[in-house]
């Protein structure tokens, strides 16, 4: 049964690496935030849930699920707040004509 937890942790690590590559490669702030926000939320959620599954029915697993729930609520909220700060400052976005 520990294989399920390890698979979940591996999937979370894969999503974190993908989000970091998207954070480097995308041309614009808004597209970078699209990669970073979603991949980071899903990656940390998968890692914490996999570690809670790996630990079994102990108090530490309940705490891990509480941390996962907290990240699941707060990480999109932080991304939304940063996006609103960028939009209210009229930050320029990427168009196809500006591409190198």
């Amino acid at each position: 049964m520990t294989a399920v937890g390890l698979v979940l942790v591996g999937g979370g690590v894969f999503f974190m690496l993908t989000g970091a590559i998207g954070l480097i490669r995308f041309p614009d702030f808004y597209t970078r935030m699209h990669a970073a926000g979603k991949c980071d939320t899903l990656g940390s959620l998968l890692v914490l849930t996999g570690l809670a599954w790996y630990g079994g029915f102990v108090l530490a697993s309940v705490k891990l699920l509480i941390v996962a729930l907290f990240i699941f609520v707060t990480s999109p909220t932080a991304t939304h707040a940063i996006a609103r700060a960028a939009k209210r400052n009229d930050l320029a976005w990427w168009t196809r004509e500006e591409s190198r």
């Binding site: 390890l6 970091a20 980071d40 939320t41 990656g43 940390s44 941390v67 707040a81 960028a86 209210r88």
Partner: protein
């Protein structure tokens, strides 16, 4: 066996942290740096919990991870609320500072 798996997972997450650190250093605007710091903080929580599993002291490290999540969220929210007021971040022409 699972200990080496957790070590490898932590190493891959650290590579992702280094990739995000490139965006923090070379970000064109200040708000790119903010989202880079937010991403690094979220990855750090996973690294802290994996380190707790490596050392068999999960109960201590989870409290540190929860505190780190709180500080990360509060800092990001405070920075974005500060930068929301017009004129702090960029000029209206859209040139990055």
């Amino acid at each position: 066996m699972s200990s080496s798996f957790f070590l490898g997972a932590s190493s891959v997450i650290l590579v992702a942290v280094l990739l995000s650190l490139y965006r923090v250093v070379r970000g064109p605007s200040i708000i790119d740096r903010i989202i880079g710091v937010n991403v690094i903080g979220t990855k750090t929580i996973a690294v802290i919990v994996l380190t707790g599993h490596l050392f068999d002291r999960v109960e201590f490290f989870i409290d540190i991870a929860l505190l780190y999540a709180l500080i990360n969220f509060t800092g990001t929210l405070a920075l974005s609320r500060y930068l929301e007021s017009k004129g702090v971040l960029v000029k209206r022409s859209g040139a990055a500072p």
